[in-house]
């Protein structure tokens, strides 16, 4: 340790940290409880299996204690920002992966002390959460994997390195060229070495294989859940989104089991024709900036509690359906092939707008079109938080494509704040009204 001088973080007194943390934590607890209560109220026939996810959704609850206990028994925790971090490697090294992007509104205001307000609120909120030590998973992680996707994420890693070791994983901006894959694979190997050094566990072929199989099972359960949303709404979109999100911090094996159980219950409901809401509710898809529990839940809430009520049947969010949709496809169970498979799963299959190709980010368009067709989506809400350039800029192209197939899309921009819910409500409800009117004709 040459110097304790922080590169970015401002000095803030312990007392202020305490006070801020307690007050934000209290608000957050209230918000989480309220969100869950509202989800319970909105959903008719809410599956019983959701109780588990309601419990895990408590960020300051059971799971925090579990990770704490595991840490005391010698396990390492590795946090990551962006879903490009190779979870399989973390699991293979017997460490716990947690995603640390933050969804607290209040902490984004704290982040303003370090970066200007123009910066994406997801970044500001994560910085703010770190300032006051709010996020249990961020606090518990021994190291962070920072994937250099968008500009915000790149600098976020730099800022957080004031506190923890941060391993930067540079990502090529063009996916489908051989040199990109080589570059990305080298990055994976570096991180592999770093993980091994931190945990002291070697990532062997057998261990990596069983880690891959673990996430494959999770993907299978995850896909089963998304497939159930293709038909009449048997689960509300918010419930499904919560299930998807809990993957970011829950124990993966347990999460898989519980999701399978949820799917069993939902299949039973389909058989008994117990739907979660009115079958007339317009089927909406959300795409754009990630929405992160607990605060950043306002759009799904507005859609599913709106008048008229809509139902989210699909999304293209890296905090929900993109988390696990793509599996690691291993051809031959050799170390090299597994590494290639992991590399391809994270890089190539991603639809993140930080990429481009000969044909632009055409993968994202295909994803959206496929969801619209298979999930029978009637309208798309394009959700962007202020400061999220790449998503904002891709809107024009997506709109052109969706206009071509006569699917209405609405661009909704917002901030990490509770104050604009009223205005958002007007717009979301007008959009839902429009969808209902279209369905009537």
């Amino acid at each position: 340790m040459k110097s304790q001088q922080k590169k970015y973080m401002i000095e803030i007194s312990q007392k202020e940290i305490e006070e801020l943390r307690n007050s934000v934590k209290a608000t957050s607890r209230k918000v989480m409880a309220e969100n869950i209560a509202r989800m319970k109220k909105t959903s008719k026939n809410r599956p019983k299996a959701m109780e588990y996810f309601d419990e895990v959704a408590d960020l300051f609850g059971k799971r925090e204690k579990e990770i704490q206990a595991a840490k005391e028994s010698g396990k390492k925790v590795i946090g990551y920002m962006c879903l490009f971090a190779p979870i399989e490697m973390i699991l293979a090294a017997d460490a716990i992966p947690v995603r640390v992007n933050s969804g607290w509104y209040d902490t984004s205001k704290l982040g303003d002390r370090i970066v200007p307000v123009e910066v994406c609120p997801v970044i500001r909120s994560t910085i703010g959460a770190k300032m006051i030590g709010l996020s249990p998973y961020l606090e518990l992680s021994d190291a962070l994997i920072s994937v250099l996707t968008c500009d915000g994420m790149t600098k976020l890693g730099e800022i957080l390195s004031d506190y923890k070791p941060v391993w930067a994983m540079p990502i090529p901006r063009v996916k489908d060229s051989p040199q990109s894959l080589r570059f990305w694979r080298d990055g994976l190997l570096t991180v592999k070495g770093q993980i091994e050094a931190l945990t002291g566990n070697k990532i062997t072929r057998k261990k990596l294989k069983s880690a891959i199989e673990k996430t494959q099972r999770a993907t299978k359960a995850f896909r089963r859940l998304q497939d159930l949303r293709k038909g009449n709404p048997v689960i509300m979109g918010r419930d499904a989104m919560l299930v998807n999100q809990t993957y970011m911090w829950d124990d993966i094996t347990r999460w898989t089991e519980k999701t399978e159980a949820l799917c069993d219950e939902l299949e039973e409901k389909v058989r008994r024709k117990e739907w979660a809401c009115s079958l007339d509710a317009p089927r909406v898809m959300v795409t754009g900036t990630p929405m992160i529990w607990p605060d950043n839940w306002k759009l799904p809430t507005l859609v599913e509690e709106g008048k008229p009520q809509g139902v989210l049947v699909a999304d293209e969010l890296c905090s929900s359906e993109r988390l696990l949709y793509d599996p690691v496809g291993v051809d031959e169970w050799t170390m090299d092939d597994m590494l290639d498979a992991i590399g391809e799963r994270y890089l190539m299959a991603s639809t993140c707008p930080c990429f481009t190709s000969k044909d632009g980010n055409v993968d994202r368009i295909n994803w959206i079109l496929n969801k619209i067709k298979e999930w029978n989506v009637q309208g798309v809400i394009y959700y962007v938080v202020r400061g999220c350039m790449s998503y904002a800029m891709e809107y024009t192209r997506i709109k052109k494509v969706l206009d071509g197939i006569n699917i209405p899309v609405y661009y909704l921009d917002t901030e990490y704040t509770r104050e604009d819910v009223g205005q958002m409500k007007t717009r979301v409800e007008a959009f839902l009204e429009m969808l209902t009117a279209r369905i009537d004709i």
């Binding site: 609405y410 921009d413 604009d420 007007t426 007008a430 959009f431 009204e433 429009m434 009117a437 004709i441």
Partner: protein
């Protein structure tokens, strides 16, 4: 069948009473601190002109920013939905409907069946809405009603910033200091605002006929600027500020009809 529409806007509450497809009563009151009370006042006024009582109304639909506060409303409709209904009712060939209120501007695109297919909202900024003209009138020290006629006298326009009411106001002050004439500044104000509105409308595509609704539609200066900017004729109804309430009343009528069936 008699129905009513209540438009609880940010500045005033408007009520329209509709009897078998024609307007029989209108009422207006300033929102103030108690929109619910204002709504009742406006309703009373409308009922009085129509010579009806509250019990005659078979369905009341509310719209506007504070529609949730409407007393005795049977249903609600979004502002964009109400605009589309009113626009098509007033001008059956309308495809693009612009509604500029005190603090919000909206544009709605309709298809040939009169169904709203797309809309945009001037997001979270009063610079493209009536409040902007009001603030600029204040800076110019002229009455709001005089702004329009004044601007028509201008021969050329000086550019000002319409990204923000506050910055706009300081721009106007600069122009005053440069001793530009008042008509020219007034026209600059309208041009800047029309610029903002037209870029909003261009996001939907300008499909004739274009209809302008809302209180700002009464301002001749703004209408002239917007026509220049869009390069297209704009249709304006007789009582543009009541369009939202009219749309709500039309919604109420169709809802009542449906429930009768």
């Amino acid at each position: 069948m008699i129905t009513a529409g209540v438009d609880l806007g940010t500045q005033s509450v408007k009520v329209v009473i509709l009897k078998d497809g024609s307007v029989v009563g209108r009422g207006k009151a300033f929102s103030g601190f108690d929109p619910a009370k204002a709504a009742e006042q406006a309703m009373d006024e409308a009922l009085m002109t129509a010579n009806l009582s509250l019990s005659d109304l078979s369905h009341v639909t509310a719209t506007g920013a504070s529609m949730a506060l409407a007393p005795k409303a049977d249903s609600t409709v979004s502002m964009m939905g109400a605009d589309a209904k009113a626009g098509i009712f007033l001008f059956p060939k309308a495809r693009t409907i612009i509604d500029i209120g005190a603090e919000e501007a909206r544009a709605v695109k309709c298809d040939d069946r009169g169904v709203m297919v797309e809309f945009v909202v001037n997001e979270r900024c009063a610079a493209g809405a009536g409040a902007f003209i009001e603030a600029m009138a204040r800076a110019l020290e002229v009455k709001l009603e005089e702004m329009g006629p004044l601007s028509l006298k201008a021969e050329r326009a000086s550019p000002i910033n319409a990204s923000c009411v506050i910055f706009g106001e300081s721009d106007v002050v600069t122009l005053i200091h440069r001793q530009e004439s008042k008509p020219e500044i007034a026209r600059a104000v309208f041009d800047a605002m029309a610029d903002r509105i037209s870029s909003m409308v261009h996001r939907l595509g300008v499909n004739p006929d274009v209809v302008l609704l809302g209180g700002v539609a009464k301002d001749v200066g703004f209408v002239a600027s917007l026509k220049r900017k869009l390069g297209i004729d704009i249709l304006i109804p007789e009582f543009p500020e009541f369009a939202g309430a009219l749309g709500a009343a039309l919604t109420a009528a169709s809802k009542a009809e449906r429930s009768q069936k």
